[in-house]
Symmetry: C2
Subunit: 180 residues, 2 copies
């Protein structure tokens, strides 16, 4: 929203818009906006037997990093994760509000008989919602190849980002299972 406002104020001149954001003390945000992850890789994974496949787009900042082994390994790991763990969304921010409301309603009904104080109830509901994110959102899922279950997929992405020195973002994925 800040960026949109800045671009409007600067009549769509990007440099001026950055100045505007700087003046507003949002220099770091401006910098990150500038350092958008616009390059990257489109990767695939097909499970043996070819009845299940995944297509994924992972972004980084430069084609140079996109071609590194670290980045390619990350893309392959993420595609396998999607195949195995079948997430519905990339990040929790992508879950539509209506879906969250429905989940909250279900939890509330499940807890209706327990006569707990409202603030305790809300805590339990938020806990259940956390589990829901861990099941449905790729970045919140436990990484399948870490048997300890402690590594989240977002940790894997953060690791690759630290190794390559670039912003890395999972943009989208799709998973086809035969006949589903």
């Amino acid at each position: 929203m800040d960026c949109k406002e800045a671009l409007t104020a600067a009549h769509d001149d990007l440099e001026k818009a950055i100045d505007y954001l700087r003046k507003k003390g949002l220099a770091s945000a401006a910098k990150r906006a500038h350092r958008d992850a616009r390059d990257g890789t489109v990767g695939t994974y097909v499970h043996p037997g070819a009845k299940l496949g995944v297509l994924i787009e992972v972004n980084c900042e430069t084609d140079f990093v996109a071609r590194t082994e670290q980045f390619q390994d990350l893309v392959k790991s993420l595609a396998m994760q999607v195949a195995a763990a079948n997430p519905s969304y990339v990040a929790r921010e992508d879950v539509p509000p209506a879906v969250l409301d429905r989940e909250r309603d279900i939890y509330r009904q499940q807890l209706a008989d327990q006569k707990k104080p409202p603030q305790i109830l809300e805590k339990i509901i938020e806990g259940k919602l956390g589990k829901f994110f861990e099941e449905m959102c790729l970045l919140d899922q436990a990484y399948i190849r870490d048997s300890s279950g402690k590594t989240r997929v977002k940790d894997l992405v953060a690791q690759a980002s630290a190794q390559t020195g670039e912003k890395i973002a999972v943009r989208r994925f799709v998973r086809f299972q035969l006949g589903e």
Copy 2:
């Protein structure tokens, strides 16, 4: 619709429903309904450079045929076709009515000054719609690897169907181009 009706009349007994359809002289339709393409392959194509990828599901009737070279070649060719020719739909039946209406409106406006008789106008509009299908619908597209431009993608599918003796259907595809 006939099948639904038949199933209702036969209280969801499939054999009885087929009898019902036979009596109604729809034996061949019943046979095809029975021979649903429920097996198949999920295939991928990634363009060199890994900035463009395709995921596709193609159905046939048995795993045996799904594993044949002919079928696998078809899946690969279709995935490459989607990558190169960027269709929006599998078949013309998949184009939403609203999109067709909008196209027809545009054509009508393009032709508004030409003062042609209405039936001629309608013919020109249907011709333009044919071109639209050839551009947007995978099965109606000219097959990219036939330089004569005479082979449509649906001919390719029909060919593979004749070779393998099974019903073959393109179920769905998705195409990711980096940053689009």
